[in-house]
């Protein structure tokens, strides 16, 4: 379960949230309705609290870390796939973090974005002072070996969300077993 080394763990989860026993949750975490946390996922609210919206899925070995001292707000219907690592101070809705993607703490993520597999999301301006944060526009897709960005025209988005909703409902049935 959760091992708080020097941090007191306080989890506030909605009754419909599903948290696997093997996951690592530390610090002050709030989970919205319908969230699913897979085994071996890690949500570490080390610096400040983390608030996760409704219907988010955090898969195995995904890491959501908050090292800053402000609240890290994550919106609804986000999909954190296997091996991803998110440290952004805020995340919007309907995003997909594909396997092994990484989002740095200098970038805030808006809605409907996709971080491709293995990509790293860093601030475009490397000289940004450590307090400030760059927000990427909605519908951004980060792709490729060089982690390039482009804006998506959202074609077939509804199909994708429908697919995801099917996956989530399947998980909800199967995970408790």
């Amino acid at each position: 379960m959760s091992r708080g080394s020097s941090i007191s763990t306080k989890i506030t989860a909605h009754s419909t949230a599903l948290i696997a026993q093997d996951s690592d949750l530390r610090g002050d975490i709030t989970l919205g309705p319908g969230c699913i946390v897979h085994p071996k996922a890690a949500i570490l609210a080390l610096g400040g609290p983390i608030v996760i919206g409704a219907d988010c899925v955090v898969e195995e070995t995904a890491v959501i870390v908050n090292r800053g001292n402000t609240v890290m707000r994550i919106g609804k219907e986000n999909h954190f796939m296997i091996g991803c690592r998110v440290e952004s101070p805020s995340v919007g809705d309907h995003n997909a973090f594909q396997p092994r993607s990484r989002a740095s703490s200098a970038v805030a993520i808006s809605s409907h974005c996709t971080l491709g597999a293995g990509t790293i999301l860093l601030a475009l301006d490397p000289t940004l002072p450590p307090g400030q944060v760059e927000t990427i526009p909605p519908y951004t897709v980060v792709y490729g070996a060089e982690s390039e960005r482009r804006i998506w025209d959202a074609s077939c988005e509804a199909t994708e969300m429908g697919l995801r909703a099917n996956q989530v409902s399947y998980l909800r049935e199967v995970l408790p077993k």
Binding site: T114, G116, V141, Y143, G144, E148, R150, W152, D153, S155, C156, E157, A158, T159, G162
Partner: protein
């Protein structure tokens, strides 16, 4: 570059010989990794990709894995004709998906809506270039009808030809009343005569036309001929050259004003396209995916020409597959340990170095430290590696390792960079066994090993380990020896002959002493000779410790009655890169 590698030498069509010494840079051309090599059984020789003869067996699309019949390949311009396109942004394969219906949520996937091409990598959608399809298959054909740019040129040419054709056929069948039948073409103007030959050359089926032309070259220029001159009407082109210019001007304007980063297509995306094309990012169209080939490879020896690789057109497997890994032992280097020498190891006089070396090799139990293989080597240190050889044959083999280039002192290699000593130059490797055979043999094998240990060091006879002759040891006895001699046995393996054996893998030690002036890579060549039997039976103790002849014979049968077979190959081992410790 800091990775250790073991490469095999292919002597191509020459009689087998070793590679040139690693100090000569040209020697690296004939070295290959084991997975890339083939083996010809007829010639008993290693073959590599450089010497093998290659033929195309079939063509296939890498995206849909469809085998394209060779007849269609030329017609399709070597590209997939079946809806496989590559994304213009990230060049991954595009998927066909139904577009979202414009109203509200989609509860079930709609299979009938207009179809788009979506890139799973960068989410590029074909809606950005205006491609939408009614059906989800046969996209290439749907495209060809509607969007093709090559059509413009072709249709222009067709209408031009039609125009001239009507003129030609109109004037030909009007014979003058006094004409001689030998010159039916004299009413066609001079210009048309010359043009007709060129025009008609394009049309394969018009034999009659060319016959006419031949006769018309000597036409008499009479007044009747001139009648035909003015009849040709002016031709109106379908497209306008000016139109093309306008397109180009728009493009240049946009390029001039737009930001370079976004508007201009990058090199990765345009290098495969034509020079004149539109350079803007938004004009990049998905390209059909080029086909790839499945190759058949043959032995290059002129008398042999045996098939080494023959792919199966229906699946990914091969009908014939003669790879070197099935014939040659796989050599790998690993498990680096560094010897810890107390005190300062600098500036030792030459005689002392040799003496220390001999002492070092005799004594055991010196302190050693495990190291990561990717760390650079340090000059002046002594490292121990393990060479692991894996036996691919179903018979046990006997290995002899020697230095590839020197004549004397066959087990120690010395070059400017390092002194390399092969600790165990002669040893055996057990046979490869299938997984189920291991379960049966396990108990018998342990008991067998205990028994032969004593005799092994004395005469060097081989413990075959196959256990076929040791069935007399009862199961209970075997288990007892297991329990009692467990730990002793493990150390015993090492201490006895320096060879660790597990299954069909044997590991031997190699000592690498890096000289204080070393720079660059530590590379050395080893000649590996292995001997195996095709018949069963005990092998005589036949170790030639001091054999100096570099064996050039490929398949020599040594020892008449036993049916030995020997094969020799050469290996270059790269032990890592030397980097001096930076002095602060």
């Amino acid at each position: 570059m800091a990775d250790t590698t073991v490469l095999y030498h292919c002597p191509h069509l020459d009689p087998p010989h070793g590679p040139l010494p690693p100090e000569l840079l040209s020697s690296s051309a004939s070295l290959h990794a084991l997975p890339e090599l083939y083996f010809c059984e007829e010639c008993d020789a290693v073959r590599c990709n450089l010497c093998v003869g290659v033929e195309v067996a079939s063509y296939f699309c890498p995206s849909c894995l469809f085998d394209v019949p060779s007849a269609n390949v030329r017609a399709d311009k070597n590209r997939c004709a079946r809806s496989c396109f590559s994304c213009p942004q990230c060049s991954s394969s595009l998927q066909v998906q139904a577009a979202d219906p414009p109203t509200g949520e989609v509860s079930s996937s709609s299979g009938t809506g207009p179809f788009l091409l979506i890139c799973p990598g960068c989410k590029w959608s074909s809606r950005e270039v205006g491609w939408e399809f009614e059906k989800s298959s046969g996209l290439a054909q749907q495209l060809a009808r509607v969007h093709s740019a090559a059509e413009v040129v072709q249709s222009e040419f067709d209408s031009l030809k039609d125009h001239l054709e009507t003129y030609l056929t109109a004037s030909a069948p009007t014979p003058a009343p006094t004409s001689r039948t030998r010159h039916p073409t004299r009413h066609i103007s001079h210009l048309t005569q010359m043009a007709a030959k060129a025009l008609h050359r394009e049309i394969p089926g018009m034999a009659a036309a060319s016959a006419r032309t031949r006769g018309g070259r000597n036409a008499v220029k009479s007044a009747e001929d001139r009648v035909g001159w003015d009849e040709m009407k002016e031709y109106e082109a379908k497209g306008r050259c000016a139109g093309l210019e306008v397109d180009k001007a728009v493009e240049l304007e946009e390029l001039r004003e737009g930001e370079w980063a976004g508007a201009v297509a990058g090199i990765e995306q345009t290098w495969a396209k034509s020079w004149d094309g539109d350079r803007r990012t938004k004009a990049l169209l998905p390209q059909r995916i080029p086909l790839q080939t499945k190759l058949t490879k043959r032995c290059p020896a002129p008398t042999c020409r045996h098939l080494l690789i023959q792919p199966d057109s229906k699946s990914t497997r091969m009908k014939i597959k003669m790879v070197a890994a099935n014939y040659l032992p796989a050599v790998e280097i690993g498990r680096r340990r560094r010897r810890i020498v107390p005190g300062d190891a600098s500036e030792v006089p030459a005689e002392d170095v040799e003496r220390r070396r001999r002492e070092r090799r005799k004594t055991r139990g010196a302190k050693e430290e495990d190291e990561v293989m990717t760390d650079p080597l340090r000059p002046g240190e002594v490292y121990y590696f393990q060479l692991a050889l894996t036996n691919p044959l179903y018979d046990p083999i006997q290995i002899r390792l020697t230095h590839a280039h020197a004549k004397s002192s066959a087990h120690t290699i010395q070059n400017d960079n390092a002194v390399i000593h092969i600790v165990t130059p002669h040893f055996t490797i057990n046979a490869l066994k299938d997984a189920w055979a291991y379960d049966e043999e396990e108990d018998e094998e342990e008991a067998d090993f205990e028994g032969t240990e004593a005799s092994e060091e004395a005469t060097g006879s081989i413990a075959t380990g196959s256990g076929t002759g040791s069935g007399t040891v009862g199961r209970k006895g075997a288990r007892m020896s297991l329990l009692a001699g467990g730990s002793v046995r493990d150390n015993g393996k090492e201490r006895r002959d320096g060879v660790e054996r597990k299954g069909n893998v044997s590991k031997v030690g190699v000592e690498v002493e890096v000289s204080p002036q070393a720079r660059g890579l530590i590379e050395f060549d080893i000649e590996v000779r292995y001997t195996y039997r095709s018949d069963e039976g005990e092998e005589k103790a036949d170790e030639d410790v001091g054999v100096k002849d570099a064996s050039g014979a490929g398949a020599g049968a040594q020892g008449g009655a036993e049916g030995y077979k020997t094969f020799t190959f050469w290996v270059r081992v790269n032990a890592g890169k030397v980097e001096p410790v930076l002095v602060k």
